[in-house]
């Protein structure tokens, strides 16, 4: 409702009254009318009430009229009543004493003959949000839940939830949740049922942390009979309630595949609903249900394609953006399945930037040998676009496609044509791309260098582009005739160069150039080193000093350091970790998809939603042990510990990979698989990671136990594992690079499990598809019953493993981590 008291703003336009005088005027008039029984009173009251509410809406404080408003509310006119309720609901919280005045007439109205008035009064009563009035709520609410009118019951169910938020204890003591549960399973009115479900989900989730019973009740919502009850009544629900039910069903774990097919057949027609929210909720359910059935999962993708595309093209631009974000997520997960639909991702000129950006990313992802030509042709059209941000994105897209294709011949030509367009921003983007391309396909250097050589460095101003150009000048000093002289000019303007990144690159480039063409470059090198040593930027200064001493020591060593033979980069690291992507996928049909961030990055814990299960354990299916136990896991807080990591910490972590300090592998080449810093006492400061200090060295004064022996016959049943995983904080989290033999051995699923077992580390659950595999291990100390739990995510294409270790005894977890890694390192070696 209207912002009351505190948000009184200076009136923005002369048409809005400032308040004071008018309010006291109104007060007078209301007083006069309060006792009047004259005919036509109601009409004048209506006019006055309207004025009051219009002031309220624009932010004028009319709370001083409270008692007059209440006095005038003795009326049978329902329009008047409604306005009065609206007013009361808005100001009661700030005026608890006067609010008491309203209780009387509201309670009376709760017993009115007209169900409409009963409902309205009950709603207002519950909306007062005054803690010391809750005792007056219990009675009317109890009656409301049993009312003959479904409207009143509907209002009462929400009323219970409101009461819970004012005073949880009163709500629980009155046994309202149980009454709601009864209504939910028996009420003939579907909206009452839906409201019960919303209310119970909220109440039980909030209670679950304190009460065993509540968490049992919450899990009972996902039991087979309840789920089937909802599914059978699906058609009775309004479209909005259907969304609610579908969200609930998506968390249910069916016992076998027949059940899955039955559910999907039953809900198939929901995919044809005009309401995008219903369709997306259905899609989420289908995707979740079939996660472990690869071919069916793929069929689901095929099936949902058409409805999604229809939703994207119907509805308002805002709605299509929301749907497109979801389509984008699916395309990124399974680009091959969409490779023939690429024309749907062509941009239309009047679409918003956000839509176009998503489409460009999808076009990039689906490009394969058969459609690349057409996609790149289309992208080149956009590159000439009047819309500069889109033109830039399009060029980047062309570059990305070039980097992921085998046959880049044609694309290189296109990129070089961009350089001929002679537009600053096009040139800038293209230079960055050409540099990346050369790092992956050195064989193209001849063609590229010829064109790049023609670019005047004066036309390149953007730091990234300038850095790219300088890198090429250094790297291909031999081929580019005038490289030393271009560099020299740049060094002459050292003081005008604002970007440290560019200055760093300049130092390195001039070194490389010097090593190849010493006589021509010597002067420039000297100037550069002198300028570098005098530089106020620490990195630049240090690098200059380092080069200087290196050269003093030995030129051949310098050659080895600065200009070693390079291997072509085979794969550029992805910017988002697969873990984050998986988590976003788990949160399908939520804001996470639109923001492209998992929810813990943008919501506070209390608002993380009633049922935001982590699927951490739930999705794994190939368990060694009896996996069905694991599958049924419903873990709410399992991952909250690692979720505590705030966004800002993450940003910091991303820092080092992009500040360009790694000169020979510029920007993201280094490593952008950003890792979570371990969430343990030793490493609570992200700065440790920035400085490259190992976790163990950072601040753990106690000497580590020299060795750790594990119990080869450790046992732990899956439910105990889950419980522990839920309770314990992560004590070590580390990235680990696997050796190629180890990765090769992964092709046989059991090999890793047997291998680890040989080291007394046992697998409890595993799953995933190439290239991402996920394993859960446990181990126990030989002498005592202290347990270690490990989550190990292996990406076989990048040979990276991410470890998360939880331990009963945190002091030994680092030792265990070392042991685990050494075990992992011998995988695949005979």
């Amino acid at each position: 409702m209207a912002p009351p008291a505190q948000s009184q703003r200076p009136s923005p336009s002369p048409s809005q009254p400032s308040g004071k005088g008018e309010v006291s005027d109104l007060k007078m008039q209301l007083r006069q009318l309060a006792g009047s029984r004259a005919p036509g009173t109601d009409d004048s009251k209506r006019d006055l009430y309207k004025k009051v509410i219009s002031y309220m809406t624009i932010g004028i404080d009319v709370s001083s009229l409270f008692s007059e408003m209440v006095m005038c509310s003795a009326t049978s006119d329902i329009v008047l009543k409604k306005m009065c309720y609206l007013y009361v609901g808005n100001y009661a919280k700030g005026n608890p004493d006067i609010a008491l005045l309203t209780i009387n007439f509201l309670q009376k109205d709760c017993k009115d003959e007209d169900p409409m008035i009963r409902g309205l009064a009950l709603r207002s009563l519950c909306s007062l949000r005054v803690a010391n009035l809750v005792e007056y709520l219990v009675g009317p609410l109890g009656l409301g839940l049993k009312d003959g009118s479904s409207y009143v019951r509907m209002v009462a169910t929400m009323g219970v939830l409101k009461l819970y938020h004012i005073s949880a204890a009163t709500c629980i003591d009155a046994d309202f949740p149980a009454m709601l549960k009864h209504l939910m399973l028996n009420d003939p009115d579907a909206q009452v049922v839906a409201n019960c479900l919303s209310a119970l989900q909220e109440i039980w989730s909030l209670e679950a942390s304190q009460s065993e019973e509540a968490s049992r009740e919450r899990e009972a919502l996902l039991s087979k009979p309840v789920i089937y009850y909802f599914l059978n009544r699906m058609k009775e629900f309004s479209e909005w309630a259907q969304c609610l039910v579908l969200e609930l069903v998506a968390k249910y774990v069916p016992s076998d595949s027949n059940e899955i097919f039955d559910m999907m057949n039953l809900l198939e027609d929901r995919l044809q609903h005009a309401n995008g929210a219903v369709v997306l909720a259905t899609i989420k359910l289908f995707l979740q249900l079939t996660l472990s059935m690869t071919d069916v999962h793929q069929q689901v993708y095929e099936r949902i394609k058409a409805p999604l595309l229809t939703l994207v093209s119907s509805g308002s631009p805002e709605q299509s953006y929301a749907v497109l974000s979801h389509l984008h997520l699916l395309v990124m997960r399974a680009p091959m399945l969409f490779s023939s639909d690429y024309k749907h991702f062509y941009c239309q000129y009047n679409e918003s930037f956000y839509v176009k950006k998503l489409k460009l990313e999808m076009l990039t992802a689906v490009a394969n040998e058969s459609n690349t030509y057409e996609i790149v042709t289309e992208l080149c059209e956009y590159a000439a676009n009047v819309d500069i941000p889109i033109a830039r994105e399009s060029i980047r897209a062309v570059g990305k496609i070039a980097l992921q294709q085998y046959d880049v011949n044609a694309i290189v030509d296109r990129l070089l044509q961009f350089l001929e367009m002679e537009k600053d921003y096009v040139t800038a983007e293209t230079l960055v791309l050409v540099k990346d391309l050369l790092r992956k396909y050195p064989q193209w250097s001849h063609d590229c260098i010829a064109v790049v050589g023609n670019i005047s460095s004066k036309n390149v101003q953007e730091p990234k582009a300038k850095a790219a150009l300088i890198w090429m000048l250094g790297e291909y000093a031999q081929e580019m005739q005038d490289a030393p002289y271009v560099l020299e000019t740049l060094i002459d303007n050292w003081d005008d160069e604002n970007s440290a990144e560019v200055r760093l690159h300049l130092l390195t480039a001039v070194m490389k150039c010097f090593l190849r063409r010493p006589p021509e470059t010597q002067k420039a090198l000297g100037a550069a080193l002198a300028a570098g040593l005098a530089d106020f930027h620490q990195d630049v200064h240090d690098r200059a000093l380092f080069y200087y001493r290196l050269l003093q020591h030995s030129v051949s060593v310098a050659e080895n350091v600065v200009n070693p033979p390079k291997q072509a980069v085979s794969v550029f690291a992805d910017t988002q970790s697969s873990e984050i992507k998986d988590r976003i996928f788990d949160e399908f049909n939520s804001l996470s998809v639109v923001y492209q961030k998992p929810s813990y990055m943008f919501t506070d814990k209390e608002h993380r939603g009633a049922f935001s299960f982590s699927e951490e354990l739930g999705n794994l299916s190939i368990g060694v042990e009896d996996s069905s136990n694991v599958v049924s896991a419903q873990i709410v807080d399992a991952s909250d510990n690692d979720l505590l990591l705030s966004t800002s910490e993450k940003e910091e972590n991303r820092g080092p990979s992009s500040n360009g300090s790694a000169y020979s592998a510029p920007s993201y080449g280094a490593s952008s698989n950003h890792q979570f810093p371990a969430h343990s006492p030793q490493s609570s400061l992200a700065i440790d990671d920035l400085l490259g200090l190992g976790l163990a060295i950072s601040s753990n004064p106690e000497p580590l136990p020299p060795s750790l022996t594990l119990n080869p016959r450790a046992v732990l049943d899956p439910s105990a594992f889950q419980q522990k995983w839920r309770q314990l904080p992560i004590s070590v989290s580390q990235d680990y690079t696997m050796n190629p033999h180890g990765v090769a051995a992964l092709t046989t699923p059991q090999s890793l499990l047997r291998h680890m077992q040989g080291h007394s580390i046992h697998c409890i659950a595993s799953g995933g598809q190439a290239p991402n595999f996920k394993y859960f291990f446990f181990a126990q100390k030989a002498e005592e019953s202290s347990t270690f739990l490990v989550e190990c995510v292996i990406n076989s294409s990048s040979c990276k493993a991410q470890l998360k270790i939880k331990a009963d005894d945190e002091s030994t977890s680092q030792a265990f981590s070392d042991l685990f890694q050494s075990a992992l390192s011998t995988l695949g070696t005979p």
């Binding site: 912002p3 809406t57 509907m154 309004s238 609903h273 953006y321 929301a322 000439a384 009047v386």
Partner: protein, 456 residues
């Protein structure tokens, strides 16, 4: 669930503000407006429909220049909230007849009444105009519609906002006619958005129709309605690639790639005789949305030619040819074309004897606009524009101009050939004789034609 709902005017004034849960600060409307007004992220100046500021998620849709906004702290389904906002706008329009700042200001009590019933404690209760009728007691104050065109079949085809030609119908679902008796009426429109991309040589590269059958019902007593579509209508394109044009021409059948339906629609006999049966709820709603990529004959051919005419000059020649029968006319046509950014001046030359044509060069976004009142089927119109540049162009001007787009309305024509063959209202009594505002098989049509590469 949502926390707050509010409507802001273009200037950022609160027109309506409802707080449902009290967990988002009261100043959210101001925070929102400032953020949207001064948006600057990703190098863009336009805020996305959904964004997050300090843990609060803001959703907004733009309807008739107003901002309909919802806030929440929870991780809700964005589609659900955006759909809800759109629906609230539609419900309000159903009740007020006309949706604009003035009508909301005059009727804000009624709007609050609606909002109280639509959402309770942040959870959606109902958005059905029909269901809400029994909760609403305020009578709408009808704003002056004198400036709007008179009601009638012709009014249906006036240019409205995108995909809402029903906007011409400005009657509230609850207001009574001045004459006293309520008029029984039902409106059916087929609105199609056509996107076609031509290659420089005139071939069609991509083409798509996004269509909606829109209904607006003022029938009392909720009679059941049967809506018959083309007999040869089929849905889904089997195993064929959707861009496979070779086999589809000449067959005459209308093939929808996909479609979806309003929840009131029963498809029981759809497979047999292509009829939809429904009990239309009051107010405006889409009966069916569909998508077609089947080859179709675009109603217009557009030719764009750009030639350099000296160092700082170029000439654009735009040709539009109407490809439909001479018995039909297109109305309110607007052809637009972005020009190179360094264009400073444009002088236009219309064909001799041109009537009802206007031209303009929009300096701010460097866009050429050509408006035509009417195009008769089979006719051709040409526009010549002389451009003056502030700098010499590098290379290809054609790449820096375009694509050409076109907005138009053609009554009694739709590109997809989808038709409503008849509309049958189950009669309740002999005296019941509603007006059906549409003649069989007609359609409102708003379309857009994009030309990727103007002829090179």
């Amino acid at each position: 669930m949502i926390s707050q709902f509010f409507v802001l005017s273009q200037r950022g004034d609160n027109i309506v503000f409802r707080d449902y849960r009290g967990d988002v600060q009261k100043g959210s409307a101001e925070i929102f407006f400032r953020k949207v007004k001064f948006w600057k992220e990703d190098g863009e100046e336009e805020a996305p429909p959904v964004f997050n500021v300090d843990g609060v998620n803001y959703f907004h849709v733009k309807v008739v220049g107003l901002l309909f906004v919802a806030t929440t702290r929870t991780n809700v389904s964005p589609s659900l909230v955006l759909e809800l906002l759109q629906r609230i706008a539609r419900v309000v329009k159903d009740y007020l007849g006309v949706l604009n700042e003035d009508s909301i200001r005059k009727n804000f009590v009624l709007v609050y009444e609606l909002l109280d019933e639509v959402v309770d404690f942040g959870y959606v209760q109902t958005t059905s105009t029909e269901v809400l009728k029994s909760f609403i007691f305020n009578e709408p104050i009808v704003v002056d519609v004198a400036r709007l065109p008179a009601l009638g079949p012709a009014g249906l085809f006036m240019q409205g906002t995108k995909r809402m030609p029903g906007t011409a119908v400005t009657k509230s679902v609850v207001a009574n006619e001045p004459a006293g008796r309520k008029r029984e009426e039902i409106f059916v429109d087929i609105i199609e958005k056509i996107s076609v991309t031509f290659s420089s040589s005139g071939y069609i590269l991509t083409s798509e129709i996004d269509g909606t059958i829109q209904m607006k019902s003022y029938l009392s007593g909720n009679p059941e309605i049967r809506l018959a579509l083309n007999d040869d209508l089929s849905i889904g394109r089997g195993g064929r690639s959707i861009y496979d044009y070779s086999g589809s021409s000449g067959s005459g059948a209308v093939i929808l790639d996909d479609c979806n339906f309003h929840e009131s629609v029963h498809l029981d006999s759809f497979d047999v005789d292509r009829t939809l049966s429904l009990v239309p709820p009051d107010g405006e709603f889409p009966v069916m949305n569909y998508r077609i990529t089947q080859e179709f004959k675009p109603p217009f051919r557009i030719n764009a030619l750009i030639e350099e005419a000296g160092p700082l000059k170029a000439e654009v020649i735009l040709k539009v040819r109407a490809e439909y029968a001479s018995s039909i006319n297109a109305n309110t046509i607007l052809v637009q074309m972005p020009l190179p950014t360094y264009t400073t001046r444009v002088s236009f030359e219309l064909e001799p004897g041109a009537v009802g044509q206007v031209t303009d060069f929009k300096e701010s976004n460097k866009r050429l606009e050509w408006g035509l009142k009417k195009i008769v089927g089979g006719s051709e119109h040409t526009l010549r524009a002389k451009l003056t540049f502030s700098q010499e162009s590098h290379g290809n001007i054609t790449k820096e101009a375009g694509p050409v787009s076109m907005n138009f309305t053609i009554p009694m024509y739709n590109a997809s050939r989808l038709q409503v063959k008849y509309l049958q209202i189950a009669k309740k009594s002999k005296t019941y004789n509603p007006y059906r505002w549409f003649t069989f098989g007609d359609s409102g049509n708003e379309a857009q034609l994009a030309l990727a590469s103007p002829a090179t």
